[in-house]
């Protein structure tokens, strides 16, 4: 299992070399968006608009951070369950988003779309929000402030620790449960 130091925006060659099980230490700007923000982005696209951040090579982090304590850029900021974003993800990937960060399983449709568009799904440790917040150097709301924790934020991260769960070649890290009833 390789360890990669990658910086955003991601290039095709950055993404295509990744294999399920690899470790990625990600630096640069990433964008937060979860349920309500995705819905708003889709509505914007439907009405002929553009997403509120540059999508080419972008990394989208499924997170609704806790408010920043005094003197810190962000509060606890671990991943939320990605499956809830599955219905939106193929469209985001078609716009050039090269990686999504979350936790939990993705649908077959999303896995196929990742192969089609050359994108990966990266897992962060769920419930390690305090630890992960230490890798966030800056945070700024860029859209939908009224959505509170669900607003789109630009996070500047350094060495954000991730695991490749689904790669762009159909590889998957999650195990299939041994159901013996």
């Amino acid at each position: 299992m390789a360890t990669w130091h990658l910086t955003t925006p991601l290039r095709s060659e950055d993404v295509l070399q990744l294999r399920a099980g690899d470790v990625v230490l990600l630096s640069g700007d990433i964008y937060t968006a979860r349920d309500a923000a995705h819905k708003r982005i889709m509505e914007q696209l439907d009405s002929g608009g553009t997403p509120p951040f540059p999508t080419e090579g972008a990394v989208v982090y499924y997170v609704g951070p806790a408010p920043a304590p005094p003197g810190r850029p962000i509060g606890s900021a671990g991943p939320t369950t990605s499956g809830r974003m599955d219905s939106y993800t193929p469209r985001m990937l078609a716009l050039g988003v090269r990686a999504t960060i979350g936790k939990g399983k993705r649908s077959d449709t999303v896995r196929n779309a990742m192969c089609e568009h050359g994108a990966v799904y990266l897992g962060a440790t769920g419930g390690a929000g305090a630890l992960l917040s230490q890798c966030v150097l800056a945070a700024e709301v860029v859209a939908y402030e009224e959505l509170g924790p669900e607003a789109v934020r630009r996070l500047t991260v350094r060495d954000f620790p991730l695991l490749v769960i689904n790669d762009a070649c159909g590889g998957e890290l999650y195990v299939t449960p041994k159901l013996d009833l």
């Binding site: 806790a66 606890s76 671990g78 897992g123 419930g127 390690a128 924790p149 999650y174 159901l179």
Partner: protein, 279 residues
């Protein structure tokens, strides 16, 4: 009639919420630590190491253990010989909760179910109340995160399905949940009662310490049997494979109708944030 001032309840609840969200229970911490020693999967061990580091950091830095600081769920036992002075219970729980979530930089996660508009202050709290004998007020608080709650289920089995049916339902549910509820999990199982009571009992069971043993030896044996079955699934920490899929199973039984066998599974992630205060 004993009178407890609402201000005392407010202070106790506020403090309880802040502590629960920042300091992982010693029983859960110990369970994660001992799991790390027995975990065979390298990625599983790394996840457990991160979770312990996260707990240390949250406790020392006053940070929330998890960004999902949950729906605020309260189970209250109110003695029949006690009453609150200077405010209603519902009001004091809600206001202490809203204040703690604001002061503690805890995420406000409650929203309108259809418009999805955030209520802004984490209100309303979900409050279960029970009248009991005596003059004490027991308040239990749980920060119930959405990721694990979404994996919870309730079903109505037939009496003929019995324990085998219950076991199959719980194990199948957790296999389907896989990595989603942030394993290693703690699983509350409510067996019996009615359609509405079984999930409440399953949730209430999650307040038990991980290292306790059910006083009924038969139920204790069922808890062990289910725990072994869940860990045999091989899901492991965060679904990356390994032995540590579940830290504990807590079962609550309740008599039910002769025609019914309600069973509920309430899933709790490893970030099991709860506290209780007795006034």
């Amino acid at each position: 009639m004993r009178i407890i001032e609402a201000s005392a309840v407010h202070a106790a609840v506020r403090q309880m919420i802040l502590a629960a969200n920042r300091v992982l229970g010693d029983d859960v911490y110990a369970a994660l630590k001992s799991s790390m020693e027995s975990e065979t999967s390298a990625s599983g061990r790394e996840v457990l190491r991160q979770l312990l580091e996260n707990a240390d950091l949250a406790a020392s830095g006053g940070l929330a253990l998890c960004q999902d600081t949950g729906a605020a769920v309260f189970f209250v036992e109110m003695g029949e010989d006690v009453r609150l002075g200077g405010g209603s219970l519902q009001h004091v729980l809600n206001s202490a909760m809203a204040q703690a979530y604001e002061e503690g930089c805890l995420r406000k996660s409650m929203c309108h179910p259809l418009t999805r508009c955030n209520t802004g202050d984490n209100r309303p709290a979900i409050v279960h109340t029970e009248l009991v004998e005596g003059d004490r007020l027991t308040i239990r608080y749980m920060a119930k995160g959405g990721g694990s709650e979404n994996m919870s289920r309730c079903t109505m089995l037939t009496p003929a399905q019995g324990w085998q049916g219950i076991k199959e339902f719980v194990v199948r549910r957790m296999a389907e949940a896989g990595p989603n509820p942030c394993p290693p999990t703690i699983v509350g199982v409510g067996i019996g009662g009615t359609f509405d009571l079984a999930p409440a009992r399953a949730k209430r069971a999650l307040f038990r310490r991980l290292d306790d043993v059910h006083p009924d030896a038969e139920v204790a044996a069922m808890e062990t049997e289910l725990l072994d079955a869940l860990n045999a699934l091989g899901i492991g920490p965060m679904g990356l494979g390994g032995r540590t899929t579940c830290l504990a199973v807590k079962i609550a039984l309740h008599p039910c109708h002769i025609a019914s066998l309600p069973v509920a599974v309430n899933v709790q992630c490893h970030s099991a944030r709860h506290r209780e205060v007795i006034l």
